[in-house]
């Protein structure tokens, strides 16, 4: 019972912060609303027996990624984000579509044919001994470094490629400017 109450409060905060992000006219405020949302999701992970993911969510998402967002917003000086759009008909159509999406998702997920038990899962202490440590960082690490070793290495390569890509994309301009300056120097 108390779990449901905590869930309801957190869900309300999560949805309110998402709506706050969507309706905010200040990009910095929108980013901070998103941080609140990410923290709520991290707390949900804790409730779902995923403490490792909860900590990764806080450090990677609410930490690194949102700092990057805030950094770019402040670098570009693009804090003002007006709500009005040239396509006035788009907002009401979108809201209708979003309600339809939620209704369809609920219909599909709760139809008996999908065969997923969506009730409260059995208590961990009552299930087989092997699953007693389900979701502990140790268990996640064991699976990650044995069964998912190849994807893990590939993700490392992907991060390297992304890093090089970001450096190349932002460096190009600088090189051109430096080239132009060199030409000016030689012309003088």
């Amino acid at each position: 019972m108390i779990g449901t109450l905590i869930f309801a409060i957190l869900a309300l905060i999560a949805i309110a912060s998402a709506v706050g992000m969507l309706t905010s006219t200040n990009a910095v405020r929108a980013a901070l609303f998103l941080v609140v949302n990410f923290m709520c999701v991290a707390l949900f992970y804790l409730g779902l027996n995923a403490p490792f993911l909860a900590m990764v969510q806080v450090t990677v998402y609410a930490g690194a990624i949102m700092v990057l967002f805030l950094f770019v917003i402040m670098l570009l000086g693009a804090e003002r984000v007006p709500l009005e759009s040239k396509l006035r008909w788009q907002a009401p159509v979108t809201i209708v579509l979003a309600v339809l999406l939620v209704a369809t998702a609920a219909f599909v997920l709760f139809s008996p044919r999908i065969g997923v038990d969506l009730s409260v899962p059995p208590l961990l202490s009552q299930t087989a001994g092997a699953m007693e440590s389900y979701g502990s960082p140790q268990a996640v690490g064991e699976v990650l470094f044995t069964r998912y070793m190849l994807p893990f290495q590939m993700v490392g390569v992907l991060l390297l490629v992304a890093m090089i890509g970001a450096v190349v994309l932002t460096r190009d301009e600088l090189e051109k400017k430096r080239g132009r300056l060199d030409k000016q120097e030689t012309q003088k």
């Binding site: 019972m1 108390i2 779990g3 449901t4 905590i6 869930f7 869900a11 999560a14 949805i15 709506v19 992000m21 969507l22 990009a27 929108a30 980013a31 949302n37 990410f38 999701v41 949900f44 409730g47 779902l48 995923a50 990764v56 990677v60 998402y61 990624i65 990057l68 967002f69 770019v72 570009l76 693009a78 984000v81 759009s85 040239k86 907002a91 809201i95 579509l97 999406l101 939620v102 998702a105 609920a106 997923v116 969506l118 208590l123 699953m131 389900y134 996640v140 699976v143 990650l144 069964r147 998912y148 994807p151 993700v155 992304a162 890509g165 970001a166 994309l169 932002t170 190009d172 301009e173």
Partner: protein
């Protein structure tokens, strides 16, 4: 107080995930600022992650949690490249309003 009092049915998490996903979709379709569209995409990724973790618990399978870990790393890579692109576009166009970016039109 026993442990069962803190357990919440998987269906609650799934419905919350669907609602957050729909909100992210509204953001992508309604907002015209590239950074806000990007943030809405992050919101949608997060809601999908929440559904993954909820189902991982329902099936007692750690594969779902590992997949969320991979989604997070890919999202980090995507954000790094995407924000670099936004900075590059802003340098040439002086604007990140996606309605004004029409060069790529076929």
């Amino acid at each position: 107080m026993n442990e069962t009092a803190f357990l919440v049915p998987t269906s609650y998490y799934v419905i919350l995930s669907a609602v957050l996903f729909a909100l992210g979709m509204v953001g992508v379709l309604v907002r015209r600022n590239a950074i806000l569209v990007f943030m809405s995409v992050e919101l949608m990724l997060n809601s999908a992650n929440l559904a993954f973790v909820a189902f991982a618990r329902a099936f007692q399978d750690l594969g779902g949690q590992v997949f969320v870990f991979f989604v997070m790393t890919v999202a980090a890579a995507e954000v790094a490249v995407g924000l670099a692109l936004i900075v590059a576009i802003f340098r040439t166009k002086r604007s990140i309003d996606i309605d004004e970016l029409r060069e790529m039109e076929g």
